[in-house]
């Protein structure tokens, strides 16, 4: 879809045209879903968040400046909403329940299914294994940088965090993840012996 086409859909959506907005949802929902899935590490939470994000977009559409990229704006809204959710007390409590039920483990290392395709549930578990214990800010920065592949400047634009803060959080996140993988491997080796 070209930029003009998107701007036309935005213009119509601002006039309460649901059909036009539906096309925008269809166009961007997977991008939002992928991001929310990676940040929230849950298919259900990701789908719920997609709905919330598009409702927010609908409400704030009048504030969008069509001179800028719509996808970046959508991405920014989705990121910030996920970050707010990660920080919320309700989400932290829910996460604890999920961890208690499932147990935190490394599905890939345990099952040895490195090459085989992993389903959503396994992907969610792997994300939880890697980022589950990170602070919301570390998780956000790590996901955007190392998983989504954004540059520091881009992360700064999306999150509003300073480059220094992004780098320090990224350093701590990577350090933690490395330590976590090492510990799991050590435990596996001990079990084998």
């Amino acid at each position: 879809m070209t930029r003009d086409e998107i701007n036309e859909l935005i213009r119509k959506s601002r006039q309460n045209d649901f059909a036009a907005f539906q096309k925008l949802v269809e166009q961007y929902q997977y991008m939002v879903y992928k991001l929310t899935f990676r940040l929230l590490a849950s298919e259900e939470d990701a789908k719920d968040m997609v709905q919330e994000v598009f409702i927010r977009i609908w409400e704030k559409l009048s504030t969008f400046n069509t001179n800028f990229s719509f996808s970046s704006w959508v991405y920014k809204i989705a990121t910030n909403m996920c970050y707010d959710m990660l920080k919320s007390k309700q989400y932290k409590e829910k996460k604890q329940v999920i961890e208690l039920q499932a147990g935190i483990h490394n599905p890939e290392l345990e099952a040895g299914n490195v090459e085989s395709g992993i389903m959503n549930r396994e992907l969610a578990e792997l994300i939880r294994f890697l980022t589950g214990e990170l602070s919301p800010k570390q998780k956000l920065v790590f996901t955007l940088s190392d998983i989504e592949g954004l540059e520091v400047q881009e992360i700064s634009e999306v999150t509003g965090l300073s480059p220094g803060k992004i780098k320090s959080n990224l350093y701590l996140a990577r350090k933690y993840i490395r330590k976590r993988i090492e510990m799991t491997e050590q435990e596996d080796d001990d079990e084998k012996q």
Binding site: K47, V50, G117, A124
Partner: protein, 161 residues
Amino acid sequence: MMKNNENNDNRLINKVRETEPELDKPGELTENVMNRLKARQTGRPKLKKLIVVLRPAMSAAALWLIGLFVFQYFGVSVTHDKPKNNIYSFTEKKPGLNKTVNLQTYKRLVNKTNHCKEQINKSFDQLDRQCLISLAAEYQEQKQLNNKRIENIVQYWQKIN
């Protein structure tokens, strides 16, 4: 060993990066979004109307309550019965309240009623009508002029009106 660990870290992170989560039934998700939006749009005008109707009433009620609270705590009662050195005495509604707080209110009341001071002892028939109205209005406004005579004046005024 160090190199192996780093490779393993990268391998896992790459795995997450390269594996795109599957979205089964994308149409259903779109439909859910649109249904929620439509539901909100139909619900919102009703809510807006309700807010428009309720807002002035709520504001008036809030102001009335604030006024009542302020009046209860800072109101004064002026008595005309026992003037001392040509100054009307006043009593505080709330014990321990600093007298200067209400001095201004007290002075205002005194000034307003001063004009009628001479006339208060006259019989009702001889009272200046303007003074009567003024006193009655003051009484109704303040509900604090506990002079029995003024109450009688008000009752009389209400009767003749």
